[in-house]
Symmetry: C2
Subunit: 535 residues, 2 copies
């Protein structure tokens, strides 16, 4: 039954699938530099006595919310399964604490594109030291530490001696979730943020509204969600929900970049914002349907200014994602007032000029609000005048995306890559491999151009995804993107990645993540939908 | 972002996605005959008083385990969400009981290929009557009844007047799970049986062992799982587990057909059954690897006889699935003793003859145990002499499967269709539609041939599927196969099916099933991983 065929096609991987790894052998994503001290050896961790603590001279110390919360999380992840009656190991070198040193102060701020995420982790004779420039790097190091801890056959916790110097290859490592095509409950978003942190992702791109629904509860325009959400009571994100997401993300070193995509992809805005969308015409009369935002009215820009004033205040990140993709011109073309405006403006029949007219005004509004912006590639393709520090998000596959990366960076703009990382697109088999093999800098261009690639994002669009299948579709597939964006350019071996990713996936199951299998095999602890603390 | 593209390709479906159905409007799979009494009207169900009861003259009554358990299940499914303080409806026609009439006695037996599953459900003025030939039909009718019950905006339970006469188009409507490539915990199998019953599936084809692992604990040969399971303690099905599955299935009118696939697909048998598998050779010496079961040794047939003696006793169904697919001849070809045997037997270089030699002896053993058998199509393709009542399972797509269906039935054998229903094969988009549009009898053949098609099976092979993604991959996609096998040949309208299946999927969420969405939209009650009774 076709079954067998796949087995024969992948003999190496089939063999690898049954390799039982030393739990401590692998870190995902692979650290930049890992050295093993001569002689080897390991350090035993006594669960009841083990503590995280601050090293002498650390610029942050007790009371630092980001680290205190992380210490609690990682202690629970590491030792929650330890039985309270567990004997402490009576032999070997014990390590009772991990000392954390942070060079620069700051615990209450938000991570940003410029945050330092580098860290150094030393596991030496009886001592564990994690040092980092900033708390954000300490978070990454804690994750690495947690993946290095194993349990031997007696249940004793240990960590092998090692010295890791680590830092991200790209500063923007994002994951997009779409909460408009299907509503995702708050819990699903928070759980995704947890697993993002395990993968060292640092940007949650929240594609929060779109054509099908408007779940964002706006304080300025409450009718938008009242009229535009699937259900205005149950399928919305309240102001409190949004704050919860932002703080939950901050505590994990993750930025939240909200996308309010205009002028297309706004059908759900219409009912709650009369006059905002373009009325489409059938011959001489309005057809009763609506198109993109109406770019010819002053009221449109008043609305957009007010909405983005609110959004800019709610979302602390410097960047907003403004969309700007896939504007369908047919409705604009049908509308006689738009035609008149086109003539008046001298745009001829070039509706791209009308689109640019809107985008230009939008960008000016956002700039005046003191925010930076990311836009989908059409804004660049259509030659809209943007600020030099604009980030262009490359998503199309109609032309080779590497040409677009070359063009965008040649024009001096920063680029974000998503085109090969649409993880909502699924196919039979190990499709994580294609995502893994992408090399974001493999295009013709100067070193300066390459420097303008700030990273990429895995996208999970919501046509066919909701809370029922989000986690297994995302994990561990998105891990392929996470490693590509974090690890060294030289880390590309598929067989090695397979073994480590399969192992990482087993770790995710142990953490209660519903991560699907890569291929035939098993994990010592399979997924259990009932969390450890409730069993 | 490509997102929008899909939306434009499916405008009709996009529109349908936001249709909010009257919960009571749809039944999945669609009943054969549904009549609405003139005048319409509805009957209100008071949750605290509502009871299932036996009609006068019913051949089964109190104490019938199959029905008593079903009454409890459906009462809980219908009314578990009712608040204990709920007011009874004070107006309208109340229906306080569903009377069940079963014409023929029998509560303790197992369902079989010949079981009668027809039923009639009448919802008339103040009276609810379900009548059936046998308890198995009563189970199907209870499921239909449960899908017809709705709740109005005040929370009042109701059912619209209707008269349904229903029966299955095909008697064998199966679902295959593969517990060898990944182990599925008992809980996952039981939950799948629940959802199978919601879909009126009636055969659980348990592909219990295969190359990667042997999780079946044999009392005769305990070493098979001790050596062949992924983990002999945690990744096995004990005798008690197997009995639990069989009884759980029986109570839902589902047959359990176990598959012990030979002579290929048996690598995991090797370690626990020394001498059973063929040693492969590299040149003149054994290579240390093994191939299919060794067909030239008497000890092989002694082993097979003992194992199937046990299996025949453990699994009560008349049929066993014997596999017989995808035998790889390369190992046999390498082995000098096999070559000598081939010569002695006059098989020349035709290894199909050797395969047939094995299968023929296997089938004789199974016949002598008083069991019937199902085999994969290769057994027929290779012209093995089989009993006239053999069922041939069509799975290959290398030639059009309809040719194979024609050939099998022309040769006088009964046929089961799975080729177009490999649900482990996934693709982007609404791939349930292809499964739905299959017509099993669309081949050239006489009416007698068509009569030999006893049904089909949806297959969920386990290369990429385990407990983390089983439910969302199965449901509601397998529902497409369920309706094709149950409903009338004329029920084929995709748009109508989309609306009903989307509605059914929302019902599944309400029952705690992690069923994935068909397309953009929402359900009033989204999936919550915490079951209602534990919330």
């Amino acid at each position: 039954m076709a079954a067998g065929r796949a087995l024969r096609l992948l003999p190496l991987l089939a063999a690898a699938a049954t390799v039982v790894l030393e739990p401590a052998a692998a870190v995902w994503p692979q650290p930049q530099v890992e050295g093993y001290p001569p002689g080897g050896g390991r350090c035993l961790l006594p669960p009841r006595r083990f503590r995280f603590a601050y090293a002498a001279g650390s610029a942050v110390g007790p009371g630092c919310a980001v680290l205190e919360a992380a210490f609690q999380r990682y202690w629970a992840l590491l030792f929650a399964a330890a039985r309270p009656t567990e004997n402490e190991p009576s032999w070997g070198m014990p390590c009772t604490q991990l000392l954390v040193f942070v060079a620069t102060p700051g615990c209450d701020g938000f991570p940003s594109l410029d945050s330092k995420e580098s860290y150094k982790l030393s596991v030496l004779e009886g001592s564990l030291l994690l040092s980092a420039d900033a708390v954000w790097g300490a978070l990454r190091g804690l994750e690495t530490f947690s993946q290095l801890v194993g349990r031997d056959e007696n249940g004793t916790y240990y960590i092998n001696k090692t010295e890791i110097v680590d830092f991200p290859r790209f500063p923007h490592r994002g994951l997009l979730l779409d909460t408009s095509r299907h509503y995702l409950p708050l819990r699903a978003i928070l759980e995704t943020l947890d697993v993002m942190a395990y993968n060292k992702f640092n940007v949650f791109h929240w594609h929060i509204v779109d054509d099908p629904s408007f779940p964002y509860e706006s304080s300025t325009f409450p009718e938008l969600s009242k009229q535009g959400a699937f259900n205005a009571m149950t399928h919305v994100y309240t102001a409190s929900d949004v704050q919860t997401v932002i703080e939950y993300a901050r505590l994990r070193g993750i930025r939240v970049i909200a996308e309010f995509d205009t002028p297309g992809h706004t059908l759900s805005w219409g009912p709650g914002a009369p006059g905002l969308l373009t009325p489409c015409y059938l011959g001489k009369d309005p057809s009763g349907t609506y198109g993109p935002i109406n770019p010819i009215l002053n009221s449109t820009y008043q609305f957009v200014t007010s909405l983005f004033q609110e959004v800019s205040a709610v979302f602390p990140d410097f960047f907003l994602h403004l969309g700007g993709d896939e504007v369908d011109f047919s409705c604009w073309k049908s509308n006689p007032k738009i035609s008149a405006f086109m003539k008046e403006m001298g745009f001829g029949k070039d509706y791209k000029k009308l689109e640019s007219f809107y985008i230009q005004r939008l960008l000016d509004i956002i700039s005046s609000l003191g925010k930076g912006y990311i836009v989908w590639q059409e804004v660049f393709d259509n030659r809209v005048k943007v600020r030099p520090d604009t980030i262009i998000h490359v998503w199309k596959n109609s032309i080779p995306y590497m040409e677009e990366m070359a063009n965008v960076t040649k024009a001096g703009y920063r680029a974000l890559l998503s085109a090969p990382w649409y993880l909502n697109h699924i196919s039979y088999g190990q499709d994580w491999m294609a995502a893994y093999q992408v090399e974001p800098l493999k295009f013709e261009g100067s070193p300066e151009q390459k420097d303008r690639v700030i990273g990429g994002e895995a996208c999970m669009w919501g046509e066919y995804v909701d809370v029922t299948n989000l986690a297994p579709r995302l994990w561990p597939r998105a891990g392929a993107v996470a490693e590509r964006l974090w690890s060294n350019v030289t880390v590309r071996d598929l067989q090695d990645a397979y073994v480590r990713l399969a192992d990482f996936r087993c770790k995710l199951l142990g953490r209660g993540v519903q991560a699907q299998p890569l291929y035939i095999g098993y994990c010592e602890n399979e997924f259990d939908s009932i969390p450890a603390e409730r069993r």
